[in-house]
Subunit: 232 residues, 2 copies
């Protein structure tokens, strides 16, 4: 079978799995369901992924890959997006709008019951895959942030605000401000709490963008290479 055909089949299986996972949740979906929905035999699914967990992990990785690719494209078009308040805003929105990623971050939906319970799976799958730390280091090095914030303090603050945002998303629409506005408010919170007194010059912004692209580019590469094992 050609590599291309294999790839297509893997995608078809992932599509089927995504559909089923959103409808019934990880636990209720059996490997046989997935195989049937994808129009292949059960054994065939195992030619692509060694275990059920690996299959659904790939599903979330694919979703992350798409999101990060989109992010990188936008980042290349507009360097200002590398500023943390811009980047976190767009990232938050992209995550919240993709049901599977939303389920992973917001940890609310039933979709992941029995899957993301597993703290190990979660930690790994969430894009803690690397970028967070390196990106923050970048921000400190480039003096994007208030000078009196050390790396760990910056990491703590970012975590409080961003995770506070996702936590709030759990309760859904019971807040007054709509989704976009909520994201704006979170972005403002980051900027006002963490931004250096003076704005970055154009050159610095470019440099930051370049670094950010590198960091996230590496992550997306790592994600892709993990995914590709299912294709070839």
């Amino acid at each position: 079978m050609s590599e291309e055909a294999r790839r297509e089949r893997a995608e078809r299986i992932l599509d089927a799995a995504a559909e089923l996972m959103l409808r019934h949740g990880y636990k209720r979906v059996t490997m046989e369901d997935v195989a049937r929905a994808a129009g292949v035999g059960k054994g065939t699914v195992y030619l692509h992924w060694r275990t059920k967990e690996a299959l659904f992990r790939a599903l979330l990785l694919r979703e992350s890959e798409q999101m990060l690719s989109g992010l990188l494209t936008k980042l290349r078009q507009d360097s200002e997006l590398a500023l943390p308040w811009r980047l976190m805003r767009i990232l938050a929105l992209e995550v919240v709008r993709r049901p599977l990623l939303r389920a992973l971050f917001v940890a609310d939906s039933d979709a992941l019951i029995g899957f993301a319970e597993n703290e190990a799976v979660r930690r790994e799958t969430q894009l803690e895959l690397a970028p967070e730390t390196r990106y923050l280091e970048l921000l400190v090095e480039r003096r994007v942030l208030r000078g009196d914030l050390g790396f760990e303090e910056a990491a703590y603050l970012m975590s409080v605000i961003v995770r506070g945002f996702f936590l709030a998303e759990r309760t859904g629409e019971e807040f007054g401000p709509g989704l976009e506005r909520r994201a704006d408010l979170m972005a403002d919170a980051i900027r006002l709490t963490m931004a250096a007194e003076k704005a970055l010059g154009p050159d610095d912004t470019e440099a930051l963008a370049a670094g950010t692209i590198t960091v996230f580019g590496r992550t997306v590469e790592a994600v892709r290479s993990e995914l590709s094992s299912a294709y070839a």
Copy 2:
């Protein structure tokens, strides 16, 4: 039996319940355990509280009452504490330092398993008992906050930051900054994101403090009156 003796007995039962709850958690503690530890018959406990849930609810209310009383005392001594960044800092620290309240807010400890699961219990027991909304209205009226923030937006932001803080407390000490520093950073986040451009004058501060004392005073009164039913 004298009112005073009743009160003492109720306190003794609560002490026993607190001790046991911290050691074994809500579910594992039986009413008989509590009665035995308090040196009374099981029926006697039911002379004070109609149900197990009511007993443990009272426990958390008593804890809240103590915390809020302390807060009010400090607030009367220093009007500046009425500013949200000062108030939330001290409140967060007081909560985190009291094991039972900590368990309630951080929702991590095993102590509350089977009790605070119950979203109803939780919502009511957390000091959402009233002050949050009124206090925020006060802040908006008194122009303590940025003028471009409506009430709902202010409420949203406050919720994101404060709940983000408590969420972070869940993971314990894995963060770099120590507890006090974490509280400071949260307070800064509130001030920088939400404070009006210009600081309040002394008179305004006094007025805000007075209002805040009223709001929290009412809450603490409500808590006390709920508690007193168990005494008399």
